[in-house]
């Protein structure tokens, strides 16, 4: 997937604050592969609504979202889901790890039918960078929110898609861990040529070269 295009979209069932000032709502905008974006917006402005709409889990919006030339609303569910394998992934605000599975099992869900062994060293390296290596065999339900958040970041990077979307993914991390996680995401996305879209409440309190968009 080379582009995600937003064409004049606005939420169907609520009106975001400062709709007029928004650089995204009711505008035409294209996210190109390889480019990095930081979408900043206060609570209640529709960050999660937009992030999940881009992933294709709902169509509660006016206008169109396109994967390259294809209008997402017109795609069959199976086709949308297929795009999630290599095209677009989202780290939800509520992390979404399967409770009964261990952290490593959760991470390796992103591998699908490929040879898992091939991805284990990568998983261990990223987990060690984020300080969750010791948790790999622990069940997700027994981990803290911050630990689960870091584990979910590893999951998003182990087999990265063309577009990596993160919805307030650092909310439970301290500054040190935030920086480490951010730099890991940058490093991996650089290597894979992926685009990164961060949805955050505030701008990052450290240096970055991301294009900032206000929702």
């Amino acid at each position: 997937m080379d582009n995600i295009v937003l064409e004049n979209i606005s939420p169907k069932y609520f009106t975001p604050k400062d709709l007029e000032q928004s650089q995204i709502w009711k505008k035409n905008i294209t996210f190109q592969k390889g480019k990095k974006f930081l979408i900043v917006a206060p609570s209640g402005s529709g960050k999660s609504t937009l992030a999940t709409a881009i992933l294709g889990t709902h169509f509660q919006y006016e206008g169109n979202i396109k994967y390259d030339q294809q209008i997402v609303k017109n795609l069959h569910l199976e086709k949308i889901v297929e795009n999630r394998k290599d095209g677009v992934s989202l780290l939800f605000q509520d992390v979404r790890l399967i409770k009964d599975l261990t952290i490593s099992e959760n991470i390796l869900l992103r591998v699908f039918n490929q040879d898992r062994k091939k991805f284990i060293p990568l998983m261990e390296e990223y987990a060690s960078r984020l300080g969750v290596e010791s948790l790999l065999n622990k069940k997700a339900e027994n981990c803290s929110y911050g630990e689960r958040q870091r584990s979910a970041i590893v999951r998003s990077l182990v087999n990265p898609t063309d577009f990596l979307i993160y919805d307030e993914c650092f909310s439970h991390l301290d500054m040190e861990n935030k920086k480490i996680a951010f730099s890991l995401i940058n490093e991996v996305s650089q290597k894979s040529g992926s685009s990164v879209l961060f949805f955050e409440l505030n701008e990052f309190p450290f240096e970055h070269d991301y294009q900032i968009l206000h929702l």
Binding site: E78, V81, E82, R84, L97, I98, K99, F112
Partner: protein, 386 residues
């Protein structure tokens, strides 16, 4: 633990349903073999006559079968062939001469030789000189040997001996007496009559009544070869047309039709249980999905195809179904083996179940796989409201 218990109950229900349906199908075949057995040919031959009523008594044109009746009979799907009987239109009698002092008036009938269960060729069964070959019902000889001869103190006659006896046959045609020698050439189990060569009989009839050539033919009785003497359709058609036949074979037909009715009822019950189990299975899978709703939703958001998730669970279920079916068939097959070996079967049953039943192991799980997959997938999409 509860889940395992539920699964056991479910598969036990399916096992019972399969046992009921498969055993009904096999019993249906067994009943066909027992009642419509090919080893007893008499079941396939019926002599039709019209029922006597106050209206048709003594009226040959009403009591007999005309060409139209015969043509209609030939069209019945249950009937393979129809052989009309010719009967004598002339006076005939027999006496034993000096050796056996007896005298009796006689009747004769003629029939196509291929319809008679006596292994004779046309050459063997024809009038040569003044010798008429005769075939009588085995019942007549038995009636004489075990009834008449015993009571009257007369000698009993074996089949071979009977074939050696010659009797005088006196025929009156055109008021002229003709005497022939009658020799029995065979005994029939199928036809209760005194049979002589049809050509000979027809020529004597024409000589006695030349007007018969120009009149429509009337046959007193007809012999029919049927596919299945226990066919319910045949019995109802006979009833409709007021035809009668051998009571014994019809009785077996009635028993058979009642047995089939019971089998059909059991099969319907089996199918009902199967449908019920299928419904429970679909609900069972739905519950599994609901219990794992979060997991399914997470996997879906990660890129796992919902169709594949549903097809995986349906495939697992179909494989279990295949195992249950195989167990049911093995049980039925061993039951059939012991039934066929037992004295009840009289050697008429096959020791194997119908080979087509084994195809159910493949066909039913495949059909159920697609059915369950489609149903659950649609439900899943509806429940996600996408």
């Amino acid at each position: 633990m509860k889940k395992i218990f539920n699964s056991i109950i479910l598969y036990a229900g399916l096992f019972i349903a399969f046992i009921l349906v498969i055993s009904c199908l096999q019993l249906y075949e067994n009943a066909n073999r027992l009642f419509g057995s090919k080893s007893s040919e008499s079941n396939y031959w019926l002599t039709f006559s019209k029922k006597l009523t106050p209206d048709n008594i003594g009226r040959k044109e009403l009591l007999g079968f005309n060409e139209n009746d015969v043509a209609k009979l030939k069209k019945w799907s249950e009937i393979k062939t129809v052989y009309p009987f010719s009967a004598n239109e002339f006076k005939a009698s027999a006496n034993g001469g000096d050796f056996i002092p007896f005298y009796t008036d006689l009747y004769f009938e003629g029939l196509d030789l291929k319809a008679i269960d006596v292994p004779l060729t046309d050459e063997e069964f024809q009038v040569k000189g003044d010798v008429i070959p005769i075939i009588i019902s085995r019942e007549y000889l038995n009636l004489y040997n075990y009834g008449f001869a015993l009571n009257q103190g007369l000698p009993q006659i074996s089949e071979d001996f009977a074939k050696k006896i010659e009797i005088n046959i006196n025929i009156v045609v055109n008021k002229q007496n003709k005497t022939y020698k009658g020799r029995m050439v065979g005994l029939s189990d199928r036809i209760h009559s005194v049979l002589i060569p049809k050509k000979f009989l027809d020529s004597l009839n024409l000589a006695e009544k030349p007007q018969l050539a120009s009149q429509p033919k009337i046959y007193n009785r007809v012999l029919v070869q049927v596919k299945d003497s226990g066919d319910e359709g045949l019995i109802s058609k006979m009833k409709e047309n007021n035809y009668e036949s051998n009571q014994e074979s019809l009785r077996s037909a009635k028993i058979k039709s009642k047995l089939f009715l019971v089998l059909k009822a059991i099969a319907v019950l089996g199918i009902f249980i199967f449908a019920l189990c299928l419904y429970i299975i679909v609900s069972f899978i739905k519950i599994q999905f609901l219990e794992k709703q979060e997991e399914v939703s997470i996997k879906n958001s990660l890129g796992y195809s919902p169709k594949k998730m549903v097809s995986d669970i349906s495939r697992r279920f179909s494989i279990n179904l295949m195992i249950v079916l195989a167990l049911s068939l093995i049980l039925i097959a061993s039951g059939q083996y012991f039934l066929a070996k037992s004295s009840v079967s009289n050697g008429l049953l096959s020791i194997y179940i119908n080979p087509w039943l084994w195809t159910a192991i493949i066909i039913i799980p495949i059909l159920v796989y697609f059915f369950v997959k489609e149903l659950i997938y649609r439900w899943l999409l509806r429940s996600w409201k996408i």
